[in-house]
Amino acid sequence: MNKTGKLINYLAGRVLPGSIIPFFIVSAWWLASRTGTAVVPGIAEVMRVLLHPFEAPPELYSRSIAFSLFMTLIRFTAGFGLAIVTAVPLGLLAGQSRTAERILYPVIQMSRSINPIALMPLATVFFGLASVASVFTGEMEAWKYDLADQVQLAMIFILWWGGFFPIFLSTLNGVRSVGAPYIEMMSLAGASRVQLLKNVIFPHALPSIMHGIRMGMGITWLVLLAAEIYPGTRSGIGYMLCTACKTSDYQYTFAAMIIIALTGLLLDWTIHHFEKKTGHWQTRER
């Protein structure tokens, strides 16, 4: 199939069905904005905000849409990155060692039922307003300090909490389901633990890890936007959404919601792509 044909197929097969419900929502929005309630901004107004992402809102304390998204993504990367680099190794460990599993599993099962958003007040008490900037003691340029200061430790903590559990459990599950014949084959070949991990356990668990990352990402994204509403925050898409509400600049609220939704979708698609790519062999294994 040629490129154009592929694109048409993609549009007709994926984008079109996926656009049906948004189309009705936008229509309803359009109707609502015409009836002239103050709460619902016009589509044109919101589009103006979205099309000028670097323009700071005139009367708000918040910064431009682009900067807000940038801040949000920095926090996301820090918190979720930390979740990945802790959950995957621990999952691999617990999957291979009974002792490690017995130590970790009960604690993790108990902890994971605690909603990270509910932990925010506690995290704030514990970490105070400490940020990444307060952890680094060396000299820092002002703008760097300003950025780092807006990545609060309490926030990183609850983001980590939101992402850790699904990734850990999926990794554990992926390791557990490695077929014994593969492991026996490797041990007969004289493979070391590291070789077994590199050639069998990790590749086998990878699609499962990706799935966990996808699940964890959805949760982390939700948690992040809720967390940005908390006091002490002075930037981010969630912050913009919330402050715009307070000052009745609803076109910014709507613009923020649209950005949140689209970014969430984009993140999900990206990981889903890797999930399929690393798991190509799964459905066709025989």
Partner: protein
């Protein structure tokens, strides 16, 4: 590639093995099985499904221990032979996430050989197994015959002189089957492999083996041992070939009849 002690390549001394099912019912898989297999020869174990053929190979590989008796490979414990025993299991264990070429080269990678050397050796092996164009495909993209050739390729790459094969050609059509059998004979002869080859096909055993060990239906016992000294390649339509098949078949059937008489049950004929 012969063992210094002059010991047989594989030997089993009165090995017994029982399993407990999930419900706690015991199954006796093997009962005092003894045999020897010579260096550089192909020894086939024939028996109906459930006669404990796979169990013998698992014990011989060292993955499992017998309840009683002992096995030796080249005169020593299987556990002292790590990396020198090649084992092709009944269900192939090519890694599905690795390309065929990488699968074949896996034993070399485990031994820490340089990438370039692995590549060359894999290419050589692929040449001898007609797998040249398939090295960049994943195992699930191969036909059944190519998949078995790839599994044999990995066995060859391991450079193990002692090979255990568990019904490696059982799911193939006749043409592919016969081609692979000839190919295998050729390779085994050239590399002077000591082979313990399990099959439920009498025809296959008679075609390949220097010695045939016949097992009874479970619990597996050695019923008879046949020495085969027909030269290779063997002619399937020769009277000698047919006569030997008939003798082995009669042996297996007579045992099945005895068992049926004992159990009072109408047990099916062995194999497929």
């Amino acid at each position: 590639m012969s063992s210094p002690s002059g010991a047989p390549a594989f030997s089993a001394g009165r090995i017994s093995k029982g399993y407990k099912s999930r419900e706690g019912v015991g199954v006796q898989a093997l009962e005092r099985v003894s045999f020897e297999a010579d260096e550089g020869k192909i020894t086939c174990i024939v028996g109906p499904t459930g006669s404990g053929k796979s169990t013998i190979l698992r014990i011989m590989s060292g993955l499992e221990a017998p309840d009683e008796g002992s096995v030796r490979v080249a005169g020593v414990q299987p556990s002292d032979m790590t990396g020198r025993i090649g084992y092709l299991t009944q269900r192939h264990t090519l890694l599905p996430w690795m390309k065929t070429g990488d699968n074949i080269g896996l034993p070399l990678k485990v031994r820490g050989l340089a990438r370039e050397m692995i590549k060359n050796r894999v290419r050589e092996i692929a040449e001898s197994l007609a797998l040249n164009g398939l090295l960049d495909l994943y195992p699930y993209e191969l036909s059944g015959g190519a998949m078995q050739r790839a599994a044999i390729g990995r066995l060859l790459a391991s450079d193990a002189g002692y090979c255990l094969l568990d019904e490696p050609f059982s799911a193939l059509d006749e043409k592919t089957l016969h081609a692979l059998q000839r190919l295998f004979l050729d390779i085994a002869g050239r590399s002077r492999l000591s082979v313990l080859f399990v099959t439920h096909s009498i025809d296959e055993a008679v075609f390949l083996a220097d010695r045939i060990i016949v097992l009874s239906a479970g619990p597996g016992r050695v019923v008879e041992t046949f020495e085969v000294d027909m030269p290779h390649p063997r002619d399937r339509i020769s009277p000698l070939f047919g006569a030997l098949i008939e003798r082995v078949r009669q042996k297996i059937e007579s045992v099945l009849r005895d068992d049926a008489a004992v159990c009072g049950a109408d047990s099916a004929t062995g194999g497929h």
